[in-house]
């Protein structure tokens, strides 16, 4: 566990800005232990919570992943697991090997909503591009809830699900095109980015050939300590 002061700072900063960056946070710890010291791990329906994100060429990946779709090119802005009814609340990215040339980009989804039209985004329905557990759920781009709401966005994995959905997806896409992103580079071992996945969109810059050694650990948290 981290000390109370740091825990409080992370909670407050993440609530205020939608993300928190901690430089060289406990590089001595295993990834999963580092994540557990910051919050409670989310229970996922499949696989391990900890994933190792390394650049992959399109050809060596599968089309159900961003690497299979975009390869080492830019990954577009998205929220993780947007096709789930309740995506994981927080996303934690932790640097093992980093490069200045491959920053993580962030944008505040709430600003994008205001830009695109709050009412439209709240009424916009979307659906996953393929069934989830054999069903095609209808989802809202912004689903209000007791914690403020869940904003979801994925231009590949989500499709419009209603007339307002078409409109909302179009307007939100336009707002993304016009946004000025926050740039955060995970450079040194332990550099950690905690992202509110119900609010912030994130993206990855293209990976130049000489940065192929980039290695980031990703974990999902359901709450912060």
């Amino acid at each position: 566990m981290i000390d109370r002061v740091l825990a409080k700072e992370i909670r407050q900063r993440t609530k205020k800005c939608g993300y928190t960056f901690i430089e060289q946070f406990r590089p001595d710890l295993e990834g999963i232990h580092a994540a557990q010291s910051i919050g409670s791990l989310a229970s996922l329906r499949f696989g391990e919570n900890l994933s190792h994100l390394v650049p992959r060429a399109k050809i060596s990946s599968t089309p159900n992943t961003y690497s299979g779709i975009y390869g080492t090119n830019d990954f577009p802005f998205h929220t993780d697991l947007a096709q789930w009814r309740t995506p994981p609340r927080y996303l934690l990215l932790r640097c093992i090997v980093g490069f200045l040339e491959v920053p993580t980009l962030l944008v505040d989804g709430h600003s994008l909503m205001r830009e695109a039209g709050q009412e439209i985004i709240t009424r916009a329905l979307v659906r996953p591009r393929r069934p989830v557990n054999g069903k095609v759920p209808l989802l809202k781009l912004f689903q209000p809830n007791a914690f403020g709401g869940v904003l979801r966005w994925d231009e590949k994995f989500l499709r419009p699900g209603s007339p307002i959905g078409e409109h909302g997806v179009r307007e939100f896409g336009k707002a993304i095109e016009q946004c000025v992103p926050i740039v955060r580079s995970l450079l040194k071992p332990g550099d950690t980015l905690i992202i509110d996945n119900w609010r912030m969109l994130h993206a990855r810059a293209a990976v130049p050939a000489d940065c192929n050694a980039r290695h980031i650990e990703r974990t999902y948290l359901e709450s912060l300590s």
């Binding site: 009814r85 309740t86 009412e119 709240t122 009424r123 329905l125 069903k135 759920p137 209808l138 989802l139 809202k140 689903q143 699900g161 209603s162 007339p163 307002i164 959905g165």
Partner: protein, 317 residues
């Protein structure tokens, strides 16, 4: 003690957010059709049913599950996976859904319930019979009530009409509701005036007889006594309970009180009948009333006696 069999996510067929999203999808589809067309009315009825189900699931998904023949649907609505072969979830009927909403939420009135039953009934005729139930139906006959009922359902989820149909359309809906309320009030006031005229035309002897009969009738019936807005004779208002009963004990007597919201008036002297809270509002008889019943404490707490009509058991006789 530790729970060893924990539930997972609630399946979409019981999930309030999922059901609401579908209601929203249908209402958006409705908004793409011509307002005077049968398709507009059909989509509105489909959306209405889902909105009702979302409102009930938002209280608890379990309330939607059909529990008649087996418990598999109930079990699934709790977040578990039934083991039954070829399991197909079953939910309660729309009529039952709106009946439960009326029982749970004070703001969801008998008028709302009746409209839901009527509108979804037409939907059934449209979908399951050769009847073109929505063809030629004037929107003036249902649109305002549709919006009023949607508002009542949305309020149970802390939402507004603007959240559901958009701010622009909600502003139009408010005007439609205001106009309908006004015309509805005028209609009922017209009825009251007509009954008053007929009453005043009766001779004094006949009126006296009817007043006496009405007093005797009212004293024998359950209901809240009021003065008839047409003839001023004692009339009865009936309603729906809108609060939990509260009991107090004094001198071996239990006094039970409960608040009711009126939904119909009947006067047997002049024959006036008014049905629905909105119409009772127009004649000034929509105030809540309190029903008080007094029981003997022993009677109130006594266990139910299957042979209560007989003397106590006595095998000596």
């Amino acid at each position: 003690m530790k729970q060893t069999h924990t539930p997972g996510d609630i399946a979409d067929n019981w999930n309030a957010d999922a059901i609401y999203a579908k209601a929203e999808r249908y209402v958006q589809k409705m908004q793409t059709t011509e307002v005077d067309s049968w398709e507009y009315a059909l989509w509105s009825s489909l959306s209405l049913e889902l909105l009702a189900r979302a409102a009930l699931a938002n209280v608890n998904p379990v309330l939607l599950a059909e529990t008649g023949k087996n418990w598999d649907s109930l079990y699934q609505s709790l977040g578990y996976t039934p083991k039954a072969e070829r399991f197909s979830p079953k939910s309660i009927s729309t009529n039952e859904v709106v009946s439960r909403l009326r029982s749970i939420f004070e703001g969801f009135t008998t008028d709302d319930e009746k409209f839901c039953i009527r509108h979804t009934g037409k939907r059934n005729s449209e979908l399951h019979s050769g009847e073109a139930a929505f063809e030629g139906v004037d929107k003036a006959n249902w649109q305002a009530e549709f919006y009023v009922t949607c508002s009542s359902m949305l309020a149970t989820m802390d939402m507004s009409l603007a959240d559901f149909i958009g701010a622009e359309e909600a502003a139009v809906a408010e005007k439609i509701i205001a106009a309908w309320t006004d015309s509805s009030a005028k209609a009922v006031l017209g009825d009251v005036e007509a009954y008053r005229k007929v009453w005043n035309d009766k001779d004094a002897g006949e009126r006296e007889g009817l007043v006496a009969a009405a007093k005797a009738w009212a004293s024998r019936q359950w209901g809240h006594r009021v003065n008839c807005p047409a003839c001023t004779t004692v009339a009865l208002v009936q309603g729906e309970a809108v609060s939990d009963p509260t009991q107090s004990l004094k001198d071996d007597e239990i006094t039970e009180t409960q608040h009711y919201l009126p939904n119909q008036l009947e006067c047997i002297a002049c024959g006036l009948k008014v049905s629905g809270l909105s119409k009772l509002t127009a004649v000034g008889l929509a105030d809540r009333y309190k029903k008080t019943q007094v029981y003997d404490a022993a009677e109130f707490y006594a266990p139910e006696d299957e042979w209560g009509d007989y003397e106590p058991d006595n095998n000596e006789r």
